[in-house]
Amino acid sequence: MQLVYFAWVRERIGTGSEPYDGPAQTVAELVAELRAREPRYDLVFSDLTSLRVAVDQELVDFDAPLSNAQEVAFFPPMTGG
Protein backbone atom coordinates (compact mmCIF):
# COMPACT_ATOMS: atom_id res chain seq x y z
CA MET A 1 0.00 0.00 0.00
CA GLN A 2 1.18 3.50 -0.79
CA LEU A 3 0.69 6.51 1.50
CA VAL A 4 0.49 9.86 -0.30
CA TYR A 5 0.47 13.37 1.17
CA PHE A 6 -0.49 16.76 -0.28
CA ALA A 7 -0.10 20.46 0.51
CA TRP A 8 1.09 21.22 4.08
CA VAL A 9 0.72 17.56 5.08
CA ARG A 10 3.34 16.71 2.44
CA GLU A 11 5.57 19.59 3.54
CA ARG A 12 5.43 18.74 7.26
CA ILE A 13 5.94 15.01 6.80
CA GLY A 14 8.72 15.80 4.35
CA THR A 15 7.73 13.47 1.52
CA GLY A 16 4.94 13.15 -1.04
CA SER A 17 4.65 9.38 -0.78
CA GLU A 18 5.97 6.35 1.04
CA PRO A 19 5.16 2.64 1.11
CA TYR A 20 3.29 1.08 4.05
CA ASP A 21 2.88 -2.61 4.88
CA GLY A 22 1.87 -2.61 8.53
CA PRO A 23 -1.09 -4.29 10.26
CA ALA A 24 -3.60 -1.36 10.25
CA GLN A 25 -7.14 -2.46 9.27
CA THR A 26 -8.75 1.00 9.31
CA VAL A 27 -7.68 4.58 8.58
CA ALA A 28 -7.90 5.27 12.34
CA GLU A 29 -5.49 2.42 13.13
CA LEU A 30 -3.13 3.66 10.41
CA VAL A 31 -3.22 7.19 11.85
CA ALA A 32 -2.48 5.86 15.35
CA GLU A 33 0.46 3.86 14.03
CA LEU A 34 1.88 6.85 12.12
CA ARG A 35 1.50 9.16 15.15
CA ALA A 36 3.55 6.72 17.24
CA ARG A 37 6.39 6.77 14.68
CA GLU A 38 7.86 10.27 14.99
CA PRO A 39 6.93 13.74 16.27
CA ARG A 40 6.43 15.12 12.73
CA TYR A 41 3.67 12.54 12.10
CA ASP A 42 2.24 13.07 15.58
CA LEU A 43 1.98 16.80 14.92
CA VAL A 44 0.37 16.48 11.47
CA PHE A 45 -2.30 14.07 12.72
CA SER A 46 -2.95 15.81 16.07
CA ASP A 47 -6.13 17.50 14.80
CA LEU A 48 -8.06 15.29 12.41
CA THR A 49 -10.74 17.96 11.85
CA SER A 50 -8.12 19.85 9.82
CA LEU A 51 -7.43 16.79 7.63
CA ARG A 52 -9.16 14.82 4.90
CA VAL A 53 -8.45 11.25 3.84
CA ALA A 54 -9.03 9.38 0.57
CA VAL A 55 -8.76 5.59 0.16
CA ASP A 56 -8.08 4.61 -3.43
CA GLN A 57 -8.94 8.16 -4.53
CA GLU A 58 -12.35 8.23 -2.83
CA LEU A 59 -12.97 10.60 0.11
CA VAL A 60 -13.79 8.56 3.23
CA ASP A 61 -14.22 9.05 6.99
CA PHE A 62 -11.36 8.35 9.37
CA ASP A 63 -13.03 5.15 10.59
CA ALA A 64 -13.11 3.67 7.06
CA PRO A 65 -11.66 0.16 6.51
CA LEU A 66 -8.46 -0.34 4.53
CA SER A 67 -9.35 -3.75 3.06
CA ASN A 68 -7.32 -4.26 -0.13
CA ALA A 69 -6.61 -0.53 -0.46
CA GLN A 70 -3.79 0.33 -2.85
CA GLU A 71 -3.38 3.98 -1.86
CA VAL A 72 -4.28 6.12 1.15
CA ALA A 73 -4.00 9.91 0.80
CA PHE A 74 -3.91 12.51 3.57
CA PHE A 75 -4.37 16.21 2.88
CA PRO A 76 -5.93 19.43 4.22
CA PRO A 77 -9.45 20.56 3.21
CA MET A 78 -9.42 21.34 -0.51
CA THR A 79 -9.26 24.87 -1.86
CA GLY A 80 -9.84 24.61 -5.60
CA GLY A 81 -12.00 26.58 -8.00
Binding site: A7, R10, A54, Q57, A73, T79, G80
Partner: protein, 148 residues
Protein backbone atom coordinates in the same frame (compact mmCIF):
# COMPACT_ATOMS: atom_id res chain seq x y z
CA UNK B 1 -18.57 15.96 -21.20
CA UNK B 2 -15.12 17.50 -21.31
CA UNK B 3 -12.93 17.52 -18.19
CA UNK B 4 -9.40 18.88 -18.49
CA UNK B 5 -6.82 19.25 -15.71
CA UNK B 6 -3.74 20.97 -17.06
CA UNK B 7 -0.93 23.45 -16.41
CA UNK B 8 -1.28 25.21 -19.77
CA UNK B 9 -3.24 28.46 -20.08
CA UNK B 10 -6.41 28.25 -22.17
CA UNK B 11 -8.58 30.74 -24.04
CA UNK B 12 -11.92 31.13 -22.23
CA UNK B 13 -13.62 32.74 -25.24
CA UNK B 14 -12.43 30.03 -27.60
CA UNK B 15 -13.53 27.29 -25.20
CA UNK B 16 -16.90 29.00 -24.68
CA UNK B 17 -17.55 29.18 -28.41
CA UNK B 18 -16.45 25.60 -29.03
CA UNK B 19 -18.67 24.37 -26.17
CA UNK B 20 -21.65 26.37 -27.42
CA UNK B 21 -21.29 25.46 -31.10
CA UNK B 22 -21.32 21.71 -30.58
CA UNK B 23 -24.83 21.63 -29.13
CA UNK B 24 -28.04 21.41 -31.05
CA UNK B 25 -31.26 22.46 -29.41
CA UNK B 26 -29.70 24.12 -26.40
CA UNK B 27 -31.30 27.37 -25.23
CA UNK B 28 -28.93 28.32 -22.42
CA UNK B 29 -25.19 28.24 -21.82
CA UNK B 30 -23.71 29.42 -18.52
CA UNK B 31 -19.98 29.83 -17.96
CA UNK B 32 -18.00 30.61 -14.84
CA UNK B 33 -14.40 31.75 -15.04
CA UNK B 34 -12.16 31.86 -11.97
CA UNK B 35 -9.27 34.33 -12.08
CA UNK B 36 -6.32 34.86 -9.71
CA UNK B 37 -7.05 38.12 -7.91
CA UNK B 38 -5.00 40.14 -5.52
CA UNK B 39 -5.21 39.41 -1.79
CA UNK B 40 -7.69 41.39 0.34
CA UNK B 41 -4.96 42.47 2.76
CA UNK B 42 -1.58 42.28 1.01
CA UNK B 43 0.01 42.07 -2.41
CA UNK B 44 -0.23 38.65 -4.05
CA UNK B 45 3.00 37.83 -5.87
CA UNK B 46 2.00 34.39 -7.12
CA UNK B 47 -0.11 31.32 -6.44
CA UNK B 48 0.78 27.66 -6.80
CA UNK B 49 -1.95 25.07 -7.21
CA UNK B 50 -1.14 21.50 -6.22
CA UNK B 51 -3.45 18.62 -7.05
CA UNK B 52 -3.78 14.84 -6.64
CA UNK B 53 -3.27 13.57 -10.19
CA UNK B 54 -4.63 10.06 -9.65
CA UNK B 55 -7.85 11.45 -8.16
CA UNK B 56 -8.59 14.83 -9.76
CA UNK B 57 -9.98 13.87 -13.15
CA UNK B 58 -11.97 10.96 -11.73
CA UNK B 59 -13.48 13.05 -8.92
CA UNK B 60 -14.49 15.94 -11.18
CA UNK B 61 -16.03 13.50 -13.67
CA UNK B 62 -18.11 11.90 -10.89
CA UNK B 63 -19.45 15.28 -9.83
CA UNK B 64 -20.16 16.39 -13.39
CA UNK B 65 -22.17 13.17 -13.78
CA UNK B 66 -24.09 13.86 -10.60
CA UNK B 67 -24.91 17.34 -11.97
CA UNK B 68 -26.21 15.65 -15.12
CA UNK B 69 -28.34 13.28 -13.04
CA UNK B 70 -29.75 16.16 -11.07
CA UNK B 71 -30.53 18.68 -13.80
CA UNK B 72 -31.64 18.47 -17.39
CA UNK B 73 -28.30 19.24 -19.05
CA UNK B 74 -27.09 18.81 -22.61
CA UNK B 75 -23.43 19.00 -21.59
CA UNK B 76 -20.89 20.02 -18.96
CA UNK B 77 -17.30 21.21 -19.29
CA UNK B 78 -14.65 21.78 -16.60
CA UNK B 79 -11.10 23.01 -17.23
CA UNK B 80 -8.90 23.47 -14.14
CA UNK B 81 -5.26 24.48 -14.15
CA UNK B 82 -2.57 23.64 -11.62
CA UNK B 83 0.99 24.89 -11.14
CA UNK B 84 2.21 28.48 -10.80
CA UNK B 85 -0.13 31.37 -11.59
CA UNK B 86 0.00 35.13 -11.14
CA UNK B 87 -2.77 37.72 -10.58
CA UNK B 88 -4.95 38.05 -13.67
CA UNK B 89 -4.35 34.45 -14.79
CA UNK B 90 -7.38 32.30 -15.45
CA UNK B 91 -7.44 29.40 -12.95
CA UNK B 92 -10.41 27.45 -14.21
CA UNK B 93 -13.71 27.51 -16.00
CA UNK B 94 -16.99 25.63 -15.87
CA UNK B 95 -19.61 25.61 -18.64
CA UNK B 96 -23.09 24.09 -18.65
CA UNK B 97 -25.55 23.78 -21.54
CA UNK B 98 -29.28 23.14 -21.11
CA UNK B 99 -32.64 23.74 -22.75
CA UNK B 100 -33.66 26.03 -19.90
CA UNK B 101 -31.67 28.67 -18.06
CA UNK B 102 -32.43 27.52 -14.53
CA UNK B 103 -30.82 24.11 -15.12
CA UNK B 104 -27.71 25.72 -16.61
CA UNK B 105 -27.35 28.23 -13.75
CA UNK B 106 -28.00 25.73 -10.95
CA UNK B 107 -25.63 23.12 -12.35
CA UNK B 108 -22.84 25.67 -12.82
CA UNK B 109 -23.20 26.91 -9.23
CA UNK B 110 -23.33 23.34 -7.93
CA UNK B 111 -20.14 22.42 -9.81
CA UNK B 112 -18.36 25.53 -8.54
CA UNK B 113 -19.37 24.80 -4.94
CA UNK B 114 -18.08 21.28 -5.39
CA UNK B 115 -14.79 22.33 -7.01
CA UNK B 116 -14.12 24.82 -4.20
CA UNK B 117 -14.35 22.25 -1.41
CA UNK B 118 -14.22 18.69 -2.74
CA UNK B 119 -12.00 18.53 -5.82
CA UNK B 120 -8.42 17.69 -4.74
CA UNK B 121 -6.72 21.05 -5.35
CA UNK B 122 -4.76 23.09 -2.82
CA UNK B 123 -3.68 26.70 -3.28
CA UNK B 124 -0.50 28.15 -1.88
CA UNK B 125 -0.14 31.92 -2.06
CA UNK B 126 2.89 34.17 -1.82
CA UNK B 127 1.73 37.42 -0.23
CA UNK B 128 4.28 40.19 0.25
CA UNK B 129 6.96 37.52 -0.24
CA UNK B 130 5.58 35.08 2.36
CA UNK B 131 4.12 31.70 1.40
CA UNK B 132 0.94 30.39 3.04
CA UNK B 133 -1.55 27.66 2.24
CA UNK B 134 -5.00 29.05 1.54
CA UNK B 135 -7.41 27.87 4.23
CA UNK B 136 -10.78 26.37 3.37
CA UNK B 137 -13.67 28.72 4.18
CA UNK B 138 -16.77 27.83 6.18
CA UNK B 139 -18.67 29.93 3.64
CA UNK B 140 -17.70 27.44 0.92
CA UNK B 141 -18.79 24.49 3.08
CA UNK B 142 -22.12 26.21 3.68
CA UNK B 143 -22.52 26.87 -0.04
CA UNK B 144 -21.99 23.17 -0.75
CA UNK B 145 -24.37 22.07 2.02
CA UNK B 146 -27.38 23.75 0.36
CA UNK B 147 -27.37 21.07 -2.39
CA UNK B 148 -27.87 18.18 0.07
Amino acid sequence: MKILVQTAPFDVGHETNAFTDTHKNVGAVVTFTGIVRDDDCGSLDAMEIEHYPAMTHKAITQHAQSAQDRWNLADVMVIHRYGKLVPGDVIMMVATAARHRTDAFQAAEFLMDYLKSRAPFWKKEWIDGHPRWVEAKQLDEDALARWD
